[in-house]
Symmetry: C2
Subunit: 300 residues, 2 copies
DNA sequence: AACGATTACGCCATACGTAATCATG
DNA sequence: CATGATTACGTATGGCGTAATCGTT
């Protein structure tokens, strides 16, 4: 039983497994092919497992290789995160870095930061904004300590709690037949196209549109793809679809040519506070405590 | 920005941080002190962070060092797990390893394994038993794929679902004043000593006794320490305390000198199925599906 | 032939150990 | 002075690059 692997080996393997080509992988790593080839073979011999099928028609992952690729990504991310967190903890004046998506929380983020600051002499807070998926990545990579997230997010490696729940509204063009309604249900809007997020290039973005805006039992009418909130609202204004946004998001982006109508039977939007699993940081704990004292979202 | 760390450095640092003494750490690692000292210093210089306070009165961790110790443990565990999972995935006939505590689930485990086996041509299942804390450790270290767990467990790095819920009973000596009762509430037994688990040497064992057997608002009457279930029952039989066990556990260990009485207001015992976070294994998914089809626990 | 992976071989970086040095109670 | 960390220095393991070889299409 040889004792283990080194990160260098995992970095090399990841490159090969992702490129499925030793030459390109070596280029990407900035080394020559032979050491790469040797390192992978040595690892295979040491573990007693074939990781790659080197057939004539190119290189393929074996089942074991697929497992190692997945695992190697986790280990390498964790190693980078370890360094990041250590360096940040060692700064003379450490900061609590709060990651969040821009303009998604109304005054909530501001209130939480204020409350956190007024709660004592903890490291001062600093907000880092990023698009969908960025806050969770920052947590995993050790570049942020805590994050405010909207409903569908990848919980891998994170702990989280619900901070607030708020109903969603339908955003309709002002020419829509239903703008006079006080309350809609999903059925009233069945068949209306719903724009889809394409923004961050993630597969999950499509998923987000589906899960975030509609319960899964409703089929999703295909709508135009949009890259951000402004495009989304423009699409709606142009009559290309309807959008379902949380009240606060909608309220922050009022337009004369759009109307908001509450919807009764859509899953409410939830805001979570999340942090790296097992974080022992007192500052994180203090911020989370602030979050959990937060009231239900005020309904305007 | 130097690119990162190597596992060797993290292994070295962990040894020093745990021993708080370079000499002992070097012995533990099987190397001489100088390379150890140099490696740590090099790491400090590269990261630009002091990890250890080397004062006269011994070596202490800095705040950053404490963070790195915690992180290093995670990374090293993840790296070992990566190897284990890869090796197991590469076996000619891979097995689904199910970790569980011995004799804690009545026929549940057997039923689940049978159901899993009859559900198709997946890798065959193999059960690995271990004391409290062992199943979760096996999952984290890549030595098991999935586990059946009882209520208080450390969820770090795991995903889980509830499989079954069952009420608890009080286990009383047959000489007890309340053996004729059909149903007790916690108040009836207030002040009775409750034996505590000492078994696995974990701090968590005490926590277990508290959270598992009693809601936290009840103060825990100090009871004798026991190492296993047999000792626990013996203590109860000797009149040294009362125990609160799940129905199925109690049922599997009937004794002529013990009586079981249902308790109304104690949190029920839950059985979970858990697996490494983000596991993509189809075999694990199949087993979890079997678990979720499981009915509520039959009440005898 | 051409492309991609592997083996052969010489070089250099770096991790190691021994021994000497420093700092502190 | 004794204990424990660091610096100095010579050695050697092993990871790298260049060049040659193998194996497919």
């Amino acid at each position: 039983m040889s004792d283990g692997v080194e990160l260098r080996e995992l970095r090399y393997f990841r490159a090969v497994a992702e490129e499925l080509n030793f030459t390109r992988a070596a280029e990407r790593l900035g080394i020559a092919q032979p050491p790469l080839s040797r390192t992978i073979r040595a690892m295979e011999r040491r573990l007693g497992v074939r990781l790659l099928d080197r057939s004539s028609h190119g290189t393929e992952l074996t089942a074991a290789g697929a497992v190692l690729l997945e695992q190697a990504r986790l280990v390498l991310t964790a190693a980078d995160a370890a360094v990041q967190r250590t360096v940040r903890a060692g700064r003379v004046e450490p900061r609590l870095v709060i990651a969040a998506q821009p303009s998604g929380h109304g005054g909530l983020l501001q209130r939480l930061v204020d409350q956190y600051h007024s709660s004592g002499v903890w490291p001062s807070a600093e907000v880092a904004l990023g698009g969908w998926g960025a806050p969770t990545a920052m947590l995993r990579e050790g570049r942020a300590d805590v994050a405010l997230l909207r409903d569908p997010f990848d919980p891998q490696g994170l702990d989280f709690e619900v901070v607030a729940t708020e109903p969603r509204v339908a955003v309709l063009p002002h020419t829509h037949r239903l703008i006079a309604a006080k309350l809609l249900c999903r059925q009233d809007l069945a068949g209306e196209p719903v724009p889809r997020w394409r923004s961050e290039g993630h597969r999950e973005a499509a998923y987000r549109a589906a899960v975030d805006h509609l319960p899964p039992e409703h089929p999703l009418p295909p709508g135009p793809e949009v890259n951000n909130l402004m495009e989304l609202l423009e699409m709606v204004a142009l009559g290309q679809g309807v959008a379902f946004l949380s009240e606060s998001t909608a309220a922050q982006h009022r337009r004369a040519d759009l109307v908001h109508v509450p919807v009764s039977d859509i899953s409410p939007s939830r805001i979570y506070v999340a942090w790296p699993q097992g974080s022992r940081s007192p500052a994180v704990a203090a911020f989370v405590r602030c979050c959990l004292q937060e009231e239900e979202w005020p309904t305007d």
